[in-house]
Symmetry: C2
Subunit: 358 residues, 2 copies
């Protein structure tokens, strides 16, 4: 229902209605001008031709050096989404199941559904601070399990996983010879340290992107770090599906990487302040939630709430949020993206609190 | 092998070698500056956010008016390739077969293979001027056939299908309740009139793009025209795979459409001249081929040639072409893209003729 709400919000906006869009993780901040300028320079230099389906060598090498791997372990994708979908497609298209802790990002479940693969969901809840139960995880795995998907920090909870829990999951996956796909798209801007899946010496997959770190959502560029075999397969799939990420976008991403520390510090500070403001307003309204460890989300719960009806009604009041049912079995929850300027965000949060208690 | 040769050509270029790349359909011409400028304006206006997975409404409406359909019958894709792959994915992922006349564009076959779907190939040959045998087509179709793919004008032959043959294929497909996917990416710049699949009142699918018409290959933008049901399915698949084509690219495409007549006339004239030059040089060297009806390709035959070995050896001589085996059972053929400046093209054609006769 997340996507239906988004398409409806876009329609209302096209009709001239003001909608504060807290339903998707698209920052109100603009892409930094240095990155925009780099794209224009590349465009004017004629960087508009077909190119390698694996990505530009300079960008792959730079990312390889950042992650301590070879350029051959990197493939550039149109957003981290394609990194996830392509990995799921390649590992699950001939059957099997994927194990995913919930609440989870909508696209994982929809991709599994589209691929006719079984998604085995492991529910975590607010009361236990979203902790993954390792025994329960192990029980979900069988000989048809092809993948475990982690999202660390999490969308929608903005929770960073406890390192010991990640250690435990990696051990289970290793013992059972299953790869972990770790979606870490929020990790570089998280408020607390997030241990990457690449810090383990196992054969796992990192998926991430430029969208959140550099406010480049609509540019559609991300990448996968994995063993050469999987990278080759994804590159070959790229060749027959979309060819390559536009080179002028890759050139802009390379410039973005040079500004990484400065930009991520700025983004982190802005979202930390917004998270504090949201926590205060939502607490005052007796909503339950875990404090965000990272941008961009809060995932509050209100006992007895039907979040689908709530989200649709709220849209008519000019605020878009995502119902909890988009993230698993969480009807009493909803997700707020803190992706609006402070004043709009405050007004929208107050509207949300008012609507919840009505 | 087409993609392997391309990746090898890119590697040789990265090593500083001069390669005249006649192996892929990527014009040497630059994207017109008006289109580049439009993208830069959009980038600087902040058109860098997530957007509708179906495409920008203004672009869909403009394309709808061009094709005489509603905007709801249009979805914007990252290149025509994604239009083809997504349609094949949605119709074939649960089994079935697809019927495709050959020689065919590499990506159709590789997509079928990736989807574990059976591709039923209908061979046509140079001796019959690439004519599709309607009886043979009908025999290939059974109750598991989900799709017929046509490519008109054809890659690799640059042949425009005889209208009566298209009439016949449409009738067969209609009688058997099978959709035709017609890839018409070269039609607006073809040297002769090409009847579009949309001129038939059947439930068929048009796939095309901006790459060839506007020299926008590396921008990755195309679209599908089809019934609302399929368009909705493709839009939903877009949401979980790459989100949307960057809006600044869609804005540039909208500007391109305003220049369509001027640009397509220019491109047509340039390629008609190149086709004449190539025909002369290749005829003189006793190569057999059909005269191109459209950009960008010639698909000559040389009796006894092993085109895979030939293409690899030729790469070392600084010219990249595509072996005929990439397009079906055509070992004695190879494909030349006329996508280099006249002088380079002439030199490369002479090198090709020399190599062939050695």
């Amino acid at each position: 229902m997340l996507y239906e709400i988004n398409e409806k919000a876009i329609k209302l906006q096209n009709q001239g209605k003001k909608i504060t869009k807290l339903n998707i993780g698209d920052p109100d901040l603009a892409t930094p001008s240095e990155i925009v300028d780099a794209a224009c320079v590349a465009l004017k230099k004629g960087r508009t031709k077909y190119a390698s389906a694996f990505g530009e060598q300079a960008l792959r090498e730079k990312l390889g050096s950042i992650h301590g791997v070879s350029a051959d372990n990197i493939v550039i994708t149109p957003g981290s989404k394609w990194g996830i979908f392509s990995t799921m497609y390649l590992t699950l298209k001939q059957g099997g199941n994927v194990v995913i802790p919930t609440p989870y990002w909508t696209a994982y479940g929809l991709a599994a559904l589209s691929l006719c693969a079984e998604a085995r969901l492991l529910k975590t809840d607010l009361d236990s601070n979203w902790k993954v139960d390792l025994e329960a995880l192990e029980e979900l795995i069988d000989d048809k399990t092809r993948l475990i998907i982690l999202n660390n920090p999490s969308n929608p909870t903005s929770k960073v996983m406890d390192e010991k829990i990640v250690d435990g999951i990696v051990k289970i996956a290793h013992d059972k010879n299953i790869m972990i796909l770790s979606d870490e798209v929020y990790s570089k801007i998280s408020f607390v340290n997030t241990k990457s899946i690449l810090n383990y010496n196992n054969d796992n997959i990192l998926v991430t992107g430029f969208s959140k770190m550099f406010t480049m959502t609509g540019w559609r560029i991300g990448y996968v770090v994995a063993n050469e075999n999987l990278i080759t397969k994804i590159g070959k799939l790229n060749q027959i599906t979309f060819s390559n990420v536009p080179v002028f976008i890759q050139d802009a991403a390379l410039v973005a990487l040079d500004m990484q520390d400065k930009l991520t510090n700025e983004i982190r500070e802005i979202y930390l302040n917004r998270a504090k403001m949201a926590s205060k307003i939502l607490s005052d309204a007796k909503l339950e939630f875990s404090n965000p460890d990272a941008p961009f989300y809060v995932f509050p719960k209100y006992k007895g709430l039907d979040s689908e009806k709530f989200a649709l009604d709220l849209l008519d009041a000019g605020v878009a949020v995502a119902p909890g049912t988009s993230f698993g079995d969480y009807r009493e929850h909803f997700r707020i993206s803190l992706t609006a300027p402070e004043n709009d965000l405050r007004d929208a949060l107050l509207k949300i609190c008012k609507a919840v208690s009505e």
